[in-house]
């Protein structure tokens, strides 16, 4: 099969690899129909995620059709159309039993590595370093799904791939980020980052009853999307964000703040340069400008929810704000399995159309180009969906206005 393989910092290649096969009774194999590039994949692309090995197949947002099931999988059958959550969870352990699926104790075969790094090991993830299991990812034509009786959710044929694909990660991630804010009706929620995670957090905050959502980014097209989902927007290149937020909330600060930026935060000025130098000297593993701002402006007793991924050690984080102003910090890799059914229902009811965020469809062959484009936010790129079975020449010529693939549901959006 074809797969997108990581070979080093900013070095990925789509190449022929062996097909996956069933390794355990609770495995299933799916033929992937759509797969996306995530902001988290950019951290791998940039070489910021430890524990990657040359030859790793990446990708964790994917869906497709079941083509084989192990004898321990009763709830799925060949032919089912499913979306797959990015954390791998057994459903039996202490954490799974409390629906904390991304903390599953039984899915990381390299748990000892994660223990060395973080003290304890979370769940294994698809295509996300050997620290988190070394599982082959889903930017490929097929994928092996461990604990397939727990993870994948069946989706109705009436919904297109792009409407349900993001159940695999970014929609539940934005939703959990908002849910963790314990939003009271009328609350003001500020969201740093208007990438896919930020956009879904914005929409979810509204669904959960926020009175006001303020979105922060610097790319006009992303801010525009946020605006279309009725957020007020701040371009941090034009205004001083903490000052503006103080102003907008009468000096009290937002009731909740969401950092949907993560470890590769961008900033100008002294702190920006400081973080870049320290990160490149490996004195600091993450660049947290958004987190610093969020901790500073969040109202007393408010909640700072952090879906943005941080990997290691952060510098100049105002911990004093947390203690002295009684802030609540919430974070975590998303417990995706917990949200599949309720969020699928929201999609079916038409409360949200996740395909809203898609800007680019590319054949899998062009994954490396997709990464670069998404990293540089070039061509107004917000979300890239890869088609593993698309005919490369058709899509390669970006003039074509034809269908991505015969049974494809959405017209390719070409610029």
């Amino acid at each position: 099969m074809k797969a997108n393989v990581w070979y080093g910092k900013e070095h990925m290649r789509v190449e022929e690899v062996p097909d996956p096969r069933i390794l355990n009774p609770r495995d299933a194999i799916i033929r992937i129909t759509s797969t996306a590039i995530c902001g988290s994949d950019l951290h791998i692309y940039g070489g910021y995620i430890p524990g990657m090995l040359a030859g790793d197949i990446v990708g964790h947002e994917f869906m497709g059709e079941v083509v084989e099931v192990g004898q321990g999988v009763r709830n799925l059958k060949v032919g089912d159309r499913v979306v797959n959550p990015f954390p791998i969870a057994c459903g039996n352990c202490f954490f799974c039993q409390q629906s904390q699926f991304s903390l599953c104790e039984n899915s990381n075969p390299n748990a000892w590595m994660a223990e060395k790094m973080w003290g304890h090991s979370p769940a294994g993830l698809f295509g996300y370093s050997h620290l988190l299991g070394g599982y082959a990812g889903g930017q490929a034509q097929y994928a092996r799904i461990p604990f397939a009786d727990v993870g994948p959710v069946k989706v109705p044929d009436g919904l297109s791939d792009e409407q349900v694909l993001f159940l695999s990660d970014v929609f539940p991630t934005g939703y959990m980020a908002a849910e963790q804010c314990q939003i009271q009706p009328g609350d003001t929620v500020a969201v740093w980052g208007c990438g896919p995670v930020g956009l879904f957090a914005i929409k979810s905050a509204q669904l959960l009853g926020a009175g006001r959502v303020i979105a922060i980014d610097r790319f006009p097209e992303r801010l525009r999307k946020a605006g279309e989902w009725s957020a007020e927007v701040l371009n941090y290149e034009q205004v001083d964000v903490p000052e503006a937020l103080q102003e907008m909330t009468g000096g009290r600060g937002p009731d909740a703040c969401i950092d949907a930026v993560g470890m590769e935060g961008h900033s100008h000025g002294v702190f920006g340069a400081y973080d870049r130098v320290k990160q490149s000297l490996m004195l600091e593993s993450d660049r947290p400008p958004a987190l610093r701002e969020a901790l500073k402006v969040c109202r007393n007793g408010g909640t700072v929810s952090i879906p943005g991924v941080y990997g290691g050690f952060l510098d100049k984080v105002p911990f004093g704000s947390i203690v002295n102003r009684a802030l609540t910090i919430k974070s975590g890799q998303t417990h995706v399995q917990r949200y599949l059914a309720p969020l699928l229902k929201l999609i079916e009811q038409g409360a949200i159309d996740p395909s809203f965020i898609v800007t680019h469809r590319l054949p899998l062959e062009q994954a490396p180009e997709g990464y670069r484009m998404f990293r540089d936010k070039e061509d107004s790129c917000i979300k890239v969906v890869l088609k593993p079975w698309a005919d490369p020449p058709t899509l390669n010529s970006r003039q074509s206005s034809g269908e991505v693939e015969p049974q494809s549901e959405a017209k390719p959006h070409l610029h």
Binding site: R26, F94, G133, G134
Partner: protein, 346 residues
């Protein structure tokens, strides 16, 4: 005084859990937390024997290399070189015996007998008119002291010869560690799964097979990284259904070890903490053990992973793996990582 570790584990009732260190022989300073890797504290006899072994070797070497000097020093006169050489050979033999044999007691007795012969030889130097008489007297006193130490160590080790810590298990290089894991299953389920001996090779990675010889004794076959297949017999020394198990290898095992596993209830509906304690003699001594640890091939790392697999099997019915999944081309580093099982994936 050797401690019976098979009892130790069990002396720990749930009420004593908070003071878990009390179950470890009191000599261990509790400055380190779990998992603990300590030289067995109660083996003074063994440590002493090791010291005496090296003393023998030094003495023997000196007697062989410089017999003249030795007879001068001990005041027995310069014409006894061949006798001194003989003493040297005997000392070397006992030294090697003490250091290499699992049960050093007989070799310590041979040292003590040698001391008696030496005393006889030295007293000849006490004869009036011998110019080295003063030195001979000092040598007699020294050897008498050494004889006392030899006899003490030999008697101690003889007394405990039947004990696993001394015969078979407690070489001076013995190591001890504890490791534990929390599971969602009840102590009964954990016990039943473990007690069903056929299950062991499913989660103990270095184990090829286990076969029952009778109710309490089992024959183990290890895979072993050194290609050489190792086999040994093992007996259950204590069996408390639903609560604990203890075992030790029988004499003749190449890697003598003894251990216990306790299934400790955490609280109603809260599952079980499975606690494993192991005593073992590392093959190839401490240096090899340190190297093995670096490569995570040491028993403690391996047993920890075994426990993880035990939990996975029990809770999920399978062991999480990536072996056999597709990958791109691996670099040398990637292949080495796989070879040494630093990562589980291929």
């Amino acid at each position: 005084m050797a401690t019976d570790f098979t009892q130790q584990g069990f002396s720990r009732s749930p009420q004593q859990r908070a003071t878990v260190t009390s179950a470890i022989p009191s000599q261990i300073p509790s400055r380190r937390s779990y998992p603990r890797r300590q030289r067995l504290p109660s083996l003074n006899g063994v440590a002493l024997a090791q010291g005496l072994g090296w003393f023998s070797i030094a003495l023997g070497a000196a007697a062989l290399i410089a017999p003249g000097g030795v007879s001068q020093l001990t005041g027995i006169g310069g014409d006894r070189r061949s006798v001194v050489r003989g003493v040297g050979i005997r000392e070397l033999a006992s030294g090697v015996g003490i250091l290499t044999q699992r049960n050093p007691a007989p070799w310590l007795w041979s040292r003590a007998a040698g001391d008696v012969l030496d005393l006889a030889l030295l007293t000849s130097g006490l004869r009036p008119g011998n110019p080295g008489r003063g030195r001979a007297a000092a040598a007699v006193a020294a050897v008498a002291g050494v004889l006392a130490v030899d006899a003490l160590a030999a008697a101690h080790l003889t007394k405990h010869a039947g004990h696993p810590l001394v015969s078979g298990v407690a070489a001076p290089t013995d190591l001890y560690f504890e490791t534990s894991i929390a599971t969602a299953k009840s102590p009964e389920e954990c016990y039943r799964f473990w007690r069903n001996i056929e299950n062991l090779p499913r989660f103990m990675e270095s184990l090829e097979s286990v076969r029952a010889l009778d109710e309490r004794r089992f024959h183990w076959v290890a895979k072993g990284p050194a290609a050489a297949v190792r086999e040994w017999d093992c007996e259950i020394t204590e069996d408390r259904p639903g609560a604990a198990l203890a075992w030790r290898t029988l004499n003749g095992a190449q890697v003598p070890n003894a251990g216990s596993v306790i299934f400790e209830p955490v609280g109603p509906g809260r599952g079980t903490i499975v606690r494993l304690s192991i005593h073992y003699s590392p093959v190839g001594g401490r240096l090899t053990a340190a190297l093995a640890k670096l490569l995570r091939q040491d028993p403690q790392s391996q047993v920890r992973e075994d426990l993880r697999r035990f939990k996975q099997l029990l809770e999920t019915g399978e062991i999480a793996t990536t072996r056999g999944q597709p990958t791109g081309r691996r670099s040398l580093i990637g292949r080495a990582a796989r070879r040494w099982r630093l990562t589980s994936s291929n």
